[in-house]
Symmetry: C2
Subunit: 328 residues, 2 copies
């Protein structure tokens, strides 16, 4: 993780309730610092104004809840902030767009230490800055647990968005970024090894942001952020495109399953925020992409699924249902 500075807490004591809503907003605004030129109006007014030079804006929202999506005993506030920004900015990249701005809603326990709020905001700021974006606005409220609501905005630079629905028979299926690292890292953290590079990648993923626009320029017909697992997410592409996606499991194993990362981590693990895309046969692939399969037309009676090239079987790898784990 080049260029990433670890967060150093301010030496100020106190909790968010000690400074109140407006004090906390002032403090956050100071932490954010100067805004880049594309931010026409930053924090402090009723709303922010961000340049949209391409004539449209790409927008995505995620909610992260303490104890469900992050744990302060596993991750520093700075890491939670970076990850919250990363998962939204990866959605923007998956449309072929460049992230421009984040808006952040922070629900905080009144007793939350100010240093935790500082860490969250610094992490959000730094991850945004890594793509040239900025935190331009937000809201702070009191709640019983910490909830982060992050909205990312992006610009398509005049290109059409790369949706999930454009994959065509004959296209190659490619992956950019890491697979399985976050899942393997979580297992290491659970077993008590918090210091390995994989554990760090679970706490703070490293999405290949620049590959989103690069794959779009290379003619990508469909693209998706890998957040639920590459097989599950390519299943969304297959369904949206009305096509079969035939994967070479051996290619995944060779490229990504490096001990202790297992093939199950690679195929089923989410949260690395890799990008999976389909690219027409003639187009040169951007450097760093791994070819893992191809798109096929649906045969008579076939369903739009993800299939193993060698066995012909439908690949079934459990994805993550955010309510499924909460039924008990």
């Amino acid at each position: 993780m080049n260029g990433r500075q670890e967060y150093t807490p301010h030496p100020y004591p106190g909790a968010v309730a000690d400074v109140g809503e407006f004090g906390l907003i002032d403090r956050i605004t100071r932490t954010l610092g100067p805004q880049p030129a594309l931010v026409l109006l930053g924090p402090g007014d009723d709303a922010a104004v961000v340049a949209a030079p391409g004539g449209s804006v790409v927008a995505s929202t995620d909610l992260l809840v303490e104890g469900r999506h992050f744990r302060f005993d596993w991750s520093s506030p700075y890491e939670v902030g970076r990850k919250a920004a990363a998962q939204n900015l990866a959605d923007i990249a998956a449309m072929g767009a460049v992230g421009t701005a984040l808006l952040v809603g922070l629900a905080a326990r009144p007793a939350l230490p100010l240093t935790v709020a500082d860490g969250l905001v610094t992490g959000l700021r730094d991850e945004a800055a890594s793509v040239g974006a900025a935190v331009v606005g937000g809201d702070v409220v009191a709640a019983d647990s910490v909830v982060l609501a992050v909205t990312a905005l992006g610009d398509l630079q005049g290109r059409p968005p790369v949706t999930r629905a454009g994959a065509r028979p004959g296209d190659r299926v490619v992956v950019a970024g890491r697979l399985g690292c976050s899942a393997a890292g979580m297992r290491l953290i659970e077993s008590g090894d918090r210091d390995s590079p994989l554990a760090a990648l679970h706490r703070c993923p490293d999405p290949p942001y620049a590959m989103g626009p690069e794959l779009a320029r290379a003619g990508a017909t469909a693209m998706i952020d890998v957040s639920d697992g590459v097989v599950a997410d390519l299943g969304h592409v297959a369904q949206a495109s009305g096509a079969r996606i035939v994967l070479d499991v051996g290619a995944f194993a060779a490229a990504y399953a490096v001990d202790p990362v297992t093939l199950a981590d690679v195929l089923g693990g989410g949260e690395d925020h890799a990008l999976a895309a389909t690219v027409p046969p003639g187009s040169p692939l951007p450097a760093g992409c791994v070819e893992v399969g191809e798109v096929q037309a649906l045969g008579e009676g076939q369903q739009a699924r993800v299939v193993d090239r060698h066995t012909g079987d439908v690949l079934e790898v459990a994805g993550f249902d955010h309510f499924g784990g909460d039924l008990a």
Copy 2:
């Protein structure tokens, strides 16, 4: 509240956990229905794409937490959804912009009835539609209580934004929309009268959205959404503009303090989401605006405050601090 349909629950049983994350997203997407033309890509992909014809996008986020910002024993889910959308769209109007899109993060208890989720989404959809906007995307997660994270986007139609910082000596101070109704309505609900029109306005405010762009076209130099109380919010304008705002309390009393709405409700009550603006002396005022004061230059040693025209005293009306009430 013309044109507002009361929400009729679907007759489906069940809780959000019964349909899971993807089932709930499908259900929400069906509830949202067709999207207007300015939505270039609606729900269902990694991110939405919304037209930004003016070359910039206005964006604002609010978090609403069950038990703190809304109560299901006071308000129907439909009303909570409308109010959540209204307070964000009012922020967009206060910049002089037209709302184009909402993104909604919904944190739900797994046992939350699907009909409650339906009501929230229908309310958000209908309030957005009242300004020509649409819910274009979002996120659903499990949590211990219901949290709504709403981000509103808007378009300035080529005009510069009307910030809080542009008020100039000699400008008139004007208000568009209601003042004090929400505060009086809350008091009526607390006393058991839930059926009065004021109680309905507390549950479901009626911001003067169209007046935002209209005041901008009329040359407004500063504008703010009245969410904390008109005196407190005009204090933000005074500070940002480095000017004194001199108010005619009698004008407020005459225009807004109609029993049971008290003058304290009018001056200190938030949540009606009126618009307060400053307009240069020469400009014709849009119909429906009430003139309540004027902007004065700071004299020697004077602070940027809101002052009573007749007494010369600084007007001190408590605003609402979202953490202040939680210090105990």
